[in-house]
């Protein structure tokens, strides 16, 4: 079958790979309906995440139809329309039982790599390097889904494919950020990054009762999407001074919760951007944290800063003094989607969460390299390139 694969740094290919089969009794095979590119894939493309092999199938945000069911699966039947959470959690270990699904003890057969990097291993993720398990991704006609009773969710009839697709990763990641940052009614919440995840974090914060939600980016079309489809306020960081505007909007206090949804390749207009980029390219630091720095600076005293964008290793000039002296709570996470997806699908069915506008460019698998290029360059207002393996 055809699949979009990682061939090397900044080299995406389309190649023929074997069709997946059931390897564990809790597996299902899903015929992929839609499979989205994600900003975090760009870190893989750029070679910022180690442990990729030529031939790895990419893609971790997808929905489709159940095509084959393992003997241990009880929830799903052939023909079910499902959306699958991008992280792989067993549902049985202590972390899964605590609702911290991305930290699953068992979903990553290669824990040694992340243990060496971070001291502990986290769960697995489709199409996201051998450090996160070496799971084949979803940019293919079929994908094998382990622990399917936990990770696959039946899509309600009223929810379209292109809406349900983003219940796989963008929406539950946003929900993870807003919920784990403990957004409460009355909070002012600032979100850095108006991509799919940032938009969903903003929507989650609104649904959790935030008084004001402000999203920060530089792309007009994305900020326009935030105003139209999410209903949050926006700031263009190339036009205004973000911390100053946030101070003004919050009566001098700063936002109660600052969610960073940008990640390790952040862009910034100041000279520190160049500095960080040079250091990153020279591998003197692995991640560019400009949005995190600004979030820490802008956050109100005693507030919470949440890193939802993907970081891999080390950052430089981290303003620990501000974290300590302003008594900030600093948290982060990959997504614990399993606990949020049922609620998200319900909200999608009631039209309270809309995501189909994110899929600006839908194309067949053959256009994989072009889709990633457009997405990376943000060409033609591309917010997400989405592949339809069925053509």
């Amino acid at each position: 079958m055809k699949a979009v694969t990682w061939r090397g740094v900044n080299e995406i290919g389309v190649e023929d790979v074997p069709e997946p089969t059931i390897l564990n009794s809790h597996d299902v095979i899903v015929e992929v309906g839609l499979s989205a590119t994600c900003g975090s894939d760009l870190h893989l493309m750029g070679g910022y995440i180690p442990a990729m092999r030529a031939g790895d199938v990419l893609g971790h945000e997808f929905m489709g139809t159940v095509a084959e069911v393992g003997s241990g699966v009880t929830k799903h039947r052939v023909g079910d329309r499902v959306v699958v959470v991008s992280f792989i959690g067993c549902g049985q270990c202590w972390y899964c039982r605590q609702g911290l699904w991305s930290l699953c003890d068992n979903g990553n057969p290669n824990p040694g790599i992340t243990e060496a990097l971070w001291g502990q291993s986290i769960g697995g993720c489709y199409g996201y390097s051998h450090a996160l398990g070496g799971w084949a991704g979803s940019h293919a006609r079929y994908i094998r889904v382990p622990y399917a009773d936990q990770g696959a969710f039946a899509i309600p009839d009223g929810v379209s494919d292109d809406r349900a697709l983003f219940a796989s990763d963008a929406a539950p990641t946003g929900w993870t950020g807003a919920h784990q940052a403990e957004v409460r009614p009355g909070d002012v919440v600032a979100v850095w990054g108006a991509g799919g995840v940032g938009q969903m974090a903003a929507r989650a914060a609104m649904i959790m009762g935030a008084e004001r939600v402000v999203v920060i980016d530089r792309y007009d079309n994305r900020l326009e999407q935030v105003r139209t489809h999410i209903g949050a306020e926006t700031l263009d960081y190339e036009e205004v001074n973000v911390p100053a505007e946030l101070r003004e909007m919050t009566g001098g206090r700063g936002p109660d919760v600052c969610i960073e949804a940008v990640g390790m390749e952040a862009h910034h207009p100041g000279p520190q951007y160049l500095y960080d980029q040079v250091k990153q390219q020279m591998r003197l630091q692995t991640d560019r944290p400009t949005a995190v720095r600004e979030a820490i600076y802008a956050c109100r005293k005693g507030g919470t800063v949440f890193t939802l964008g993907v970081f891999a290793g080390l950052v430089d000039k981290f303003p620990l003094g501000a974290v300590m002296n302003k008594a900030l709570t600093l948290r982060g996470a990959q997504q614990h989607g399993h606990r949020y997806i049922p609620e998200i699908l319900d909200l999608m069915g009631r039209d309270e969460v809309r995501t189909e506008h994110l899929a600006t460019h839908v194309m067949p698998l053959d256009d994989g390299p072009e889709g990633y290029r457009m997405f990376k360059e943000k060409e033609d207002g591309c917010v997400r390139a989405v592949f339809r393996p069925g053509g």
Binding site: P18, R53, V57, C90, N110, H130, G134, A136
Partner: protein
């Protein structure tokens, strides 16, 4: 050679003890063991694969068995690689999980076989024991060893990287990994 390793399994102590006490279960998570047959109340026969498709077989004797607490064994006198082991089961602080503490000791002699065994255990024998315990945890918590596309053989430290690409297995690879 002395090895220790530990893991925490989210299952009651009684269940983890009972699983281990049924020695026939050991090959489901111990990579180098092919088979364990209980011969009487205290004795059992252990079969391990050795390099060049050879098999090593030895008799083991139960030397300690405290229900829900500890199991100890050692090889009978004629074993090529004298060895002994202890596993203890301790209720974890969360009140529901079980800490599994394993201690293994091998006497690797100067003989030909002793050397072959030492080599087979590889440069990182501790890592292999650690892998065994991860598989034990997976088997007890989820019922099976998890296999990804890049690591279809399951958790195996020496094969974490580089490994096969994260794409589905060919029919041949599938046969090799699953035997079907």
């Amino acid at each position: 050679m002395d090895l220790t390793a530990t893991t925490t399994v989210r299952r009651p102590v009684g269940e983890v003890y009972a699983f281990w006490r049924l020695l026939e279960n050991l090959p489901t998570f111990m990579e180098h063991l092919d088979e364990v047959r209980t011969t009487d109340a205290k004795s059992s026969t252990w079969v391990a694969s050795a390099p060049f498709d050879r098999k090593v077989e030895w008799e083991a004797v139960l030397i300690e068995d405290v229900v829900d607490e500890r199991i100890g064994w050692r090889s009978a006198e004629e074993a090529d690689v004298p060895n002994q082991g202890t596993v203890s089961f301790v209720l974890a602080p969360d009140g529901v999980s079980t800490e599994v503490h394993v201690h293994l000791a091998y006497e690797i002699g100067a003989g030909k076989l002793g050397k072959a065994v030492a080599k087979y255990f590889g440069e990182e024998p501790h890592q292999q024991l650690d892998d065994d315990l991860r598989r034990l945890k997976q088997v007890l918590e989820t019922g099976e060893v998890v296999r990804s596309d890049g690591a279809p053989w399951g958790k195996r430290a020496r094969k974490e990287f580089p490994q096969r690409p994260a794409q589905p297995l060919t029919a041949d690879e599938r046969r090799e990994v699953l035997g079907v």
